[in-house]
């Protein structure tokens, strides 16, 4: 099980050919209190970098991008019903979607935890 990060502050935890995607703790802190989440339909496919979900806080609305290409196999309805779940555990129960990866080699282009920490520190 490996976790990778994007420069747009998404995390992706890979288990076999499926992966869980969410936004990082840093992203959740920057957004402030999340008040609305829109998730894609199960079965929809995305290419890497596509707009996949929307997250809205009291401060701003942002797109969440697909960190890698894949098909949505599950979404986290609990954060749609109670968006505070994103702030409570952004890198845990506040996950957004589960993807079936179509090109696992794309993971190599993402950051590991140490590189992401440096990315945040330099932002």
């Amino acid at each position: 099980m490996t976790t990778k990060f994007t420069k747009d502050h998404e995390w992706i935890r890979v288990e076999g050919d499926t992966a869980t995607v969410g936004i990082t703790k840093h992203a959740a802190e920057q957004l402030g209190d999340v008040v609305f989440v829109e998730l894609p339909d199960v079965g929809k496919s995305f290419s890497q970098g596509d707009d996949m979900a929307v997250v809205e806080s009291v401060k701003a609305a942002s797109d969440v991008y697909a960190p890698v290409s894949g098909e949505v196999i599950e979404v986290n309805q609990s954060i749609v019903d109670a968006p505070e779940g994103v702030n409570d555990a952004p890198e845990g129960d506040g996950w957004f979607v589960k993807l079936k990866l179509s090109d696992p080699s794309q993971l190599d282009g993402l950051m590991d935890e140490a590189a992401y920490k440096e990315h945040v520190a330099n932002a």
Binding site: D33, V35, F36, V58, K59, A60, P83, E84
Partner: protein, 505 residues
């Protein structure tokens, strides 16, 4: 001693219950005897229960709304520094002119020959707008800024379709600092949106833009001066590059106030630009009154302009209502009638009372005032980008770092000082943005009071007086709202406190 009063009122700050709480449900203004000897012709569709709307006497209703109106903040009360909004004074002469019965009491369907004066006014305003922007044509009917954008982008789409490129030119380039309406308008017109990055100094990155150009690019949409209050110095080169690639140049004219009388968008290579009459030409801002967004068009887009249009033939003014003759290629009609007549009168009244030289002074003074604010506040606050600004000064929240106080807290504390806060968290390219547009309306005295107050607040924030900010506003009729709860669990419907008692009546 208690701070509470028996009534809940605090001297001149009067509490106002909801209409539903205050009104009477069983009484109405007029008692009429129940009709007799009449058979209902509603076939069983008559009302079978009360609609339960509260009723009032005239003085009750008057007091309700006057009390509410006293809770407003307005440009007529004090400085309204909302960036990107150009909240300037609306001279009362405009209002007097707009109320003249020859303008105010006419009907849009009145025969042309009975409203020649009104049509002449619209025509004269068209000429002023074309002259000020250096453009050959203007569509007067759009009802506000975003509607004007839609007009411009629909003209661009029509021009592209006329060249047979409707299927291939589908991408629109929009800078990341743009007003949100720009990408929304492009998407509404069926284009995909591609974001343009900014340079270190807050302008569109010309080289990055050129790299994104191609045969599928329909247009670029650029605001000038941009939302960071900076003049896009490469604007001519951007226009040339997009034209060379076969695309069009839409300019967002929201910030025209900074350059009115000084620079003409037509000379900068613009193909379409909306003009917010309700900003640049003083009429009340949307929310305080109707907007009006005439859109100027270049020679290339002129044939596709919407109808209706006002033209002059000899000494007579006519309304073009059909897509024939010069308007055969028109993209059609956006509104039922001719646009916001009241706003046209106000805008022309403003132009004529200022004259060409006065309008130039408007642009100059708005830039001077913004730079005065910028330099004075830079003593304690950090500028979004270094150097001179145009009509608005942008600050980031870097100077608040480690104070535990954010842009929102600072803005709320400004309310306690008697100011409307500036625009916050926009543009998105600067962290915790504070965008201040004083406009030329403010005197040096008023700017100094504003700057002195903000500097005092800034020093208090740095000195650790956190409570003053976290609890602000302390003196407003209502304290800090829980924005998170309001968004997550909004209460959208009033329910009677005691429903059974009401039902029994």
């Amino acid at each position: 001693m208690t701070n509470e009063t028996f009534t809940g009122h605090k001297a001149l700050q009067l509490e106002v219950p909801l209409l539903f709480e205050e009104g009477s449900y069983e009484k109405c203004g007029i008692d009429t005897p129940a009709p007799s000897g009449i058979k209902s012709r509603l076939g069983g569709h008559g009302a079978d229960e009360q609609v339960n709307l509260p009723a009032f006497t005239e003085p009750q209703a008057m007091r309700h709304f006057v009390r509410l109106s006293q809770k407003n903040y307005a440009i007529d009360m004090g400085i309204f520094p909302l960036g990107s909004c150009t909240m300037k004074h609306n001279p009362r002469l405009n209002e007097k002119m707009a109320r003249l019965p020859g303008f105010a009491d006419i009907h849009p369907l009145a025969p042309e020959k009975t409203v020649q004066g009104a049509l002449a006014l619209i025509h004269e305003l068209q000429e002023w707008l074309c002259e000020l922007t250096g453009m050959p044509a203007v569509a007067m009917s759009p009802k506000a800024g975003a509607h004007g954008e839609l007009c411009g982008m629909m003209a661009i789409r029509a021009a592209i379709e006329a060249k047979g490129e409707g299927k291939t030119r589908t991408r629109v380039l929009v800078p990341e600092s743009a007003h949100g309406t720009n990408p929304a308008t492009a998407a509404q017109c069926g284009f995909s949106v591609d974001q343009l990055p900014a340079t270190e100094d807050g302008r569109v990155d010309l080289e990055a833009m050129k790299a994104k150009l191609g045969p599928d690019v329909a247009a670029i949409m650029v605001t000038n001066p941009n939302t960071c209050g900076l003049f896009e110095r490469d604007i001519r080169a951007m226009a040339d590059a997009v034209h060379e690639a076969g695309g069009y140049f839409y300019c967002d004219g929201a910030n025209f106030n900074a350059i009115v009388g000084k620079a003409r968008p037509g000379d900068l290579g613009v193909d379409a630009m909306h003009i917010n009459l309700h900003k640049t030409f003083s009429t009340p801002h949307g929310g305080g009154g109707p907007g009006s967004g005439p859109t100027v068009l270049s020679e290339a887009l002129r044939p596709f302009a919407p109808i209706p249009a006002i033209v002059k033939e000899g000494d007579t003014y006519r309304i073009i209502e059909e897509e024939t003759g010069d308007f055969a290629k028109s993209f059609g009609r956006m509104v039922a009638f001719h646009g916001q007549m009241g706003m046209f009168v106000r805008a022309l009244s403003y132009m004529l009372s200022h004259g060409a030289d006065g309008l130039k002074k408007v642009g100059e003074d708005s830039v001077l005032n913004a730079n005065y604010v910028r330099v004075r506040l830079a003593e304690e606050m950090t500028q979004g980008y270094p150097g001179l600004c145009m009509h608005e000064a942008l600050f980031s929240d870097k100077w608040l770092k480690d104070t535990g106080i954010g842009t929102l807290d600072f803005a709320k504390a400004m309310i306690d000082e008697g100011f409307h806060p500036m625009t916050m968290y926009f543009p998105l390219v600067v962290s915790g943005a504070m965008l201040i547009e004083p406009t030329e309306t403010e005197s040096k005295q008023s700017l100094d009071e504003f700057c002195d107050s903000l500097l005092a607040l800034a020093r208090a924030a740095k000195a650790g007086e956190t409570e003053r900010f976290k609890n602000a506003p302390r003196f407003a009729p209502r304290g800090r709202l829980d924005e998170t709860r309001a968004a997550r669990k909004p209460v959208l419907r009033w329910t009677p406190p005691n429903p059974e008692a009401m039902a029994a009546e």
